[in-house]
Symmetry: C2
Subunit: 369 residues, 2 copies
């Protein structure tokens, strides 16, 4: 194999596919990036068997061929080369010579035959949305997946298509995050659970531009994301997702309208009195026109008052401050509405159209303290 391409194209491609290289594995071939120049395009691929990424880079193929190179070493070499044309050349012993200006690197490769190619996916069942929207919806929900291995379904997110609505849901037993996105077209109903890791890695690759489109294909076992010159294939998580509809309710006894930034900064300040692992609740006292927030720990105490518009009963309720912070951080509205039933029922943060719903369970606390 002998190919030429610019350093910048190579760096871009390598950094995209590297997201699918496992940090730990017992199979050395999975630590490699495959350079496939057997056809008339140069394709880079990495695949950890759960998640596979393939991207095409511009360049010239002088001699067709294929080679697998250690991802870490190859990407470090490529990144440190001068900003110029790079020649990658292999011989029959899989020795690979990487030349750029007067710099010459010589490393050993592995046979492309040992590499696990991406599974073949029949592309028929698909939806499209912008890179921006996909990146945003991942950011707005990914924080409430569970990293516990005990329940595989909780480590993924529900992607549910119904007509022209894509609903994305994550939950971890203490909270639920729901985002609804309006699609340009109507589609057949679809429900899949996508691994959280896939979504985390894909959101690093997505450019986030509103003008570039992502096409998402579904099969029974896989989901495929296609955008720019890149294809991401991931296994789905098997099983039926939690029935969340029965946990949602539109009734409330107390409704609060509050400035989001003020509330977020206040809770953020309060958490610095809580050491990691220490489960001190933030206690919220809702009265007419004002919300008082209090936290008390071994380090000291903090209290602050925020002006609100209240509708309904007064309420004293406690929360894990991190859960409130996580939800408030990903809401773009200047003012948010909080809905409460009582001190033991979940709180809902949602907008009128329910384009977002964040459900957070309260925690018990000693009211006397």
């Amino acid at each position: 194999m002998k190919i030429i391409c610019t350093k910048s194209n190579l760096v871009k491609g390598v950094s995209i596919v590297s997201k699918a290289v496992p940090s730990k594995t017992t199979m050395p071939i999975l630590e490699c990036i495959l350079i496939d120049a057997t056809t008339d395009t140069i394709k880079l691929t990495a695949n950890d068997m759960e998640l596979g990424i393939e991207t095409t880079i511009e360049g010239t193929i002088l001699q067709k061929g294929i080679i697998a190179l250690d991802a870490k070493i190859f990407s470090e070499i490529v990144r440190k080369l001068p900003d110029n044309e790079v020649i990658i050349e292999t011989n029959s012993n899989l020795q690979t010579l990487i030349t750029c200006e007067k710099a010459k690197f010589n490393i050993s490769g592995k046979s492309g035959e040992d590499f696990s190619y991406l599974p073949y996916i029949e592309k028929k069942d698909c939806i499209t949305l912008s890179e921006f929207t996909l990146k945003e919806v991942i950011r707005q929900t990914i924080f409430s997946i569970s990293d516990m291995d005990s329940n595989k379904l909780m480590s993924g997110e529900l992607f549910e298509v119904d007509q022209n609505i894509l609903k994305v849901v994550s939950l971890d037993g203490h909270r639920i995050s729901i985002r609804k996105i309006e699609l340009k077209e109507s589609y057949e109903p679809r429900k899949v659970v996508v691994p959280g890791k896939t979504l985390q890695e894909i959101s690093k690759i997505l450019s986030g531009e509103t003008e570039s489109e992502v096409t998402i294909y579904f099969t029974n076992n896989h989901i495929v994301f296609e955008f720019s010159n890149t294809v991401v294939v991931s296994r789905l998580i098997e099983g039926e997702y939690f029935r969340i509809d029965q946990m949602l309710s539109n009734d409330y006894e107390t409704k609060v309208r509050i400035n989001k930034k003020e509330l977020l900064s206040c809770i953020d300040r309060a958490t610095l009195l809580v050491k990691e692992g220490d489960k001190k609740p933030i206690i919220i006292n809702i009265t007419d026109e004002s919300m008082q927030l209090k936290i008390q720990s071994q380090i000291g105490s903090m209290n602050e008052e925020i002006m609100i518009t209240k509708d309904g009963k007064d309420l004293l309720i406690g929360f894990n401050p991190k859960f409130l912070i996580d939800a408030l951080r990903v809401i773009d509205d200047e003012e948010v509405s909080l809905y409460f039933m009582n001190a033991k029922a979940p709180c809902f943060i949602k907008d009128e159209e329910q384009s977002y719903i964040y459900l957070i369970l309260p925690v018990n606390f000693n009211a006397a303290a």
Copy 2:
């Protein structure tokens, strides 16, 4: 005690003195920042017994007093307060109330009496230079102090004043870094060894402006740096510093003029084939008009050629690439001169005026490899 000052002044002051708060200590009082408002200025102090920092912040003293607050908690609280006026108020039980807008923090303080004040220093023997120059000279020499505890003197830097020249020297057994700075005035001769830690912390505080001056006072046991509203006091390292003059020489058999950036990038690229802890030398082959650099490791091999101007004999010599990188990084010249005697004698990187001299010992290597 009751004082008022702006959040930004408080943040600035706390971040300066925090540099002298030890990360680990058996004496809880050393983990504190002292707020001293017993006179007509507000002074913050931290002191780990080796290094002490004191800074004055603007503000109003409503009631004189003194309190020691846990540095970590206090600085986190201060940083997260709204950007407004902050009131710090203590009661007779050392409870401290920090108020800013509607946020109120309550933490416990410690008595100021338990705090170790900075030692009293008689200020007579001093030199002055700009913050910029001091910050630069530390950056240009600090990398070659030794972090081994076996030789205390190697963990510090020699500050030697002779007439209007300040010479700063560091060495670690494999290399020596020397920088000479011309001062505006002539001073009495002085030779002290300053702890590396002091210099590292002080260089984080120095603004690096050419117009602000630093005054450095010397006593037998201490060095004091005074600049802006800040005083840094540090113990000196006792003992006589190494006689380096006998290790320096102006003879050479080979002299090379080379583009610094080209050389640095080339060595930087070569090092990625060397895993940490692995001591692979970079082998330099100097011939007429060109320098060839080679490195070989288990990962692979790399070689590159750079155009040079040579004076004297051809030479094949090996170095620890990190030592060359460290020195080249802090030299601002576009072209540098390297002086060699033979493959077993040190290499000197220096300018004509010898305002900098970097001595690096070569390493043995198997020439056949």
